[in-house]
């Protein structure tokens, strides 16, 4: 059964269904229960944007509010995961990872390898990312390339409500640490979402739109910009194949290479900065594996190598959009 749900509620439903299925699933984060300590009010918030709202009412103390202390509570989630729980921890904004990076980079990501394959750390760390909200430099970053760089972490970028639900359920059931990144500008997006529980496997890209002329690989929210550009280009007779990798670690390089071998052209759309980025990584993979198929230079459509600006004029200039993608496609066709 399918019905329309927004991205935020799809995430909430995934959490709720998994908490009902497995009592080892617990939710930890700032305000995730909401209102604790404030005149006895409970469940007032559900996280700063309400993603976990209602879970406390259903699952009680398995939804745990924390002090503002990311190292302590994200580390606790990692430790609890290593001891048999399946915590889903909310870091709020991806930008805040700096204050607790050790627990993700040196602890969660390293346990299995460093301990000779004996440890499992099934923790999911959820966070908001991305621009478009005039959130400025400390509340708008993408930062997923940093996580994808680290062996041991898996990195998930859902682009629609249905993908968010299936990928989150997969993330919770996965036995590795997963970084689950939710674009703030997608929370209100509505889409068909099956009611039942389902998973979407990691490392399998989604071919959002088939085409023969240009391959566009787009990440997270950029999938929608790319789809919009592809629809517009189709009117001009240019057929773009739009690929959503869904997970950037593991990355489905096979689907990307196969597509480039068909189209001979590649545009990568990444809202993050271009240096040492996923856009750079994907283009590198194609240059190494499918160079002979390329009929022209690879184009990257990314934000510039600057922090995210605040002013609306500047942020609009900063962000990739459909017009920039169209221009990139036309430049290499």
């Amino acid at each position: 059964m399918s019905r329309k749900l927004n991205y935020k509620d799809a995430i909430n439903e995934a959490l709720s269904q998994e908490m009902a299925r497995d009592e080892k699933v617990i939710v930890i984060g700032l305000d995730v229960a909401g209102g604790r300590g404030t005149q006895g009010v409970m469940d007032a918030w559900g996280g700063v944007l309400g993603v976990t709202k209602g879970l406390y009412a259903k699952y009680g103390d398995r939804v745990m509010d924390t002090p503002i202390s990311e190292s302590a509570y994200i580390g606790s989630a990692v430790g609890a995961a290593a001891c048999g729980m399946r915590p889903v921890v909310e870091m709020m904004f991806a930008d805040f990872l700096g204050v607790c990076f050790d627990q993700l980079m040196n602890q969660a990501a390293k346990f299995r390898y460093m301990f000779g394959g004996t440890a499992e750390t099934p923790v999911v760390c959820r966070m908001m990312y991305g621009g478009g909200f005039r959130g400025a430099a400390q509340h708008s970053q993408c930062l997923y390339s940093i996580f994808a760089h680290i062996p041991g972490l898996k990195v998930v970028l859902p682009s629609t409500p249905a993908e968010a639900k299936g990928l989150l359920i997969q993330s919770i059931r996965d036995n590795d640490p997963v970084i689950f990144m939710e674009h703030k500008a997608l929370y209100a997006m509505k889409g068909e979402v099956p009611e039942e529980s389902y998973t979407i496997p990691f490392g399998q890209a989604n071919i959002v739109r088939e085409g023969k002329d240009v391959t566009i690989v787009a990440l997270g929210r950029m999938v929608h910009m790319a789809t919009q550009a592809a629809a517009s280009l189709a009117k001009a007779g240019i057929e773009c194949e739009v690929i959503d990798p869904r997970t950037i670690s593991p990355l489905d390089t096979a689907t990307i290479i196969k597509s480039v071998e068909k189209t001979g052209r590649l545009v990568v759309v990444d809202e993050s900065h271009p240096r040492a980025s996923m856009a750079g990584d994907i283009s590198s993979v194609v240059a190494q594996e499918a160079f002979g198929s390329l009929k022209g230079a690879i184009k990257l459509v990314t934000a510039p190598h600057t922090p995210v600006p605040f002013s609306d004029v500047l942020e609009d200039l900063y962000l990739p959009n459909a017009a920039k993608i169209e221009a990139a496609v036309k430049a290499i066709i």
Binding site: G79, F115, P151, D176
Partner: protein, 324 residues
């Protein structure tokens, strides 16, 4: 001296301390041969702390350790042969040669890893304690950390979180006087690190970390509180390390003869033996017999570690992820 301890317990405690001492003193010699790769940080001198705490723990209880972790591993029951092989980077090591001295772990023994990051363990052990609380198995978590680490934000955050969540955690500070080369009197602006507990609403206790019995008593009370759901305790054990921050450290920051003097006056093994023999609970001969057995065990572990195979290229890519 504690009345709870029977003769067999005392002999076990002595054996554990002796194993740690011989393991460390032998590593000090072995490191000089150049056959041990990487960094090695020795625990020698602090044996009473790990032993006095871990005597109370079962395999269900979890500890997190530090870069100076060998003593905690041994006290928690990690196999000495596996540890020695791991330190030599061998395939037969506790972590298959992928961890080394600073990352020895044995989750089945409740040993969640020595840790190369100062202050990383307490958040993890809060998680372990949280898991124990959910499972309702009465398990506790003990986070060992040094005087240097006591200034890390992770530790202060974890003490707050453990108190807020009433977690069964013991924050076990091993104050050995030096954060790498910097003295504790410069680093910590209170007489005792345990003074900080008041700020987090938990008991703070300072004991002589060279006195096994003092550690055992205080740790026992903290662990009892934790198991009873009364929340965390900060326990500071004042002790010392005989060797440098790492092997190869010339210890130019320490007063001349400090280590030798401490060995004479503050040796936890000597203090233990004197007290236990004087109380008529064990005999010198019994302790000497243990000394001999332990020496043979450590010798055997070095011989086996040297002879053990190294990992192969096929091991390089395994264990990154669970599923592929």
């Amino acid at each position: 001296m504690t009345s709870q301890l029977k003769k067999e317990d005392l002999l076990r405690a002595y054996r554990t301390m002796r194993e740690i001492r011989e393991f460390e003193d032998r590593l000090h010699i072995e490191f000089a041969t150049g056959k041990i790769p990487g960094f090695v940080h020795l625990y020698s001198g602090e044996e009473a702390v790990a032993t006095g705490v871990c005597m109370h723990l079962t395999d269900e209880d979890r500890i997190s350790s530090t870069h100076r972790g060998h003593g905690h591993c041994i006290a928690k029951g990690v196999d000495i042969h596996g540890m020695m092989a791991e330190i030599y980077g061998k395939k037969t090591g506790t972590c298959g040669g992928k961890g080394g001295s600073m990352h020895i772990a044995d989750l089945e023994k409740g040993m969640m890893g020595a840790n190369g990051i100062v202050g990383a363990g307490p958040p993890l052990i809060c998680g372990a304690a949280l898991a124990a609380k959910f499972k309702g198995n009465g398990g506790v978590g003990v986070a060992f950390f040094g005087d240097g680490a006591s200034n890390q934000g992770t530790i202060l955050e974890s003490m707050n979180l453990a108190s807020v969540w009433k977690l069964p955690v013991i924050f076990l500070n091993e104050n050995n006087g030096y954060a790498e080369s910097t003295g504790v009197s410069y680093n910590v602006p209170t007489p005792n690190i345990a003074d900080r507990a008041a700020g987090f609403g938990m008991p703070g206790v300072t004991v002589d970390g060279n006195d096994f019995f003092a550690v055992y008593e205080a740790a026992g009370e903290a662990i009892r509180r934790a198991r009873a759901g009364e929340g965390p305790t900060l326990l500071e054990c004042k002790t010392q390390r005989y060797f440098g921050h790492f092997e190869g450290d010339a210890m130019t920051y320490r007063p001349n003869g400090e280590s030798q003097n401490l060995r004479k006056t503050k040796d936890c093994l000597k203090i233990f033996a004197e007290k236990a023999i004087a109380a008529g609970l064990v005999t010198a001969a019994e302790l000497e017999a243990i000394d001999k057995e332990v020496l043979a065990l450590i010798e055997d572990s070095v011989v086996k570690a040297l002879a053990a195979p190294k990992p192969t290229a096929a091991d390089l890519l395994t264990g990154v992820y669970v599923s592929y």
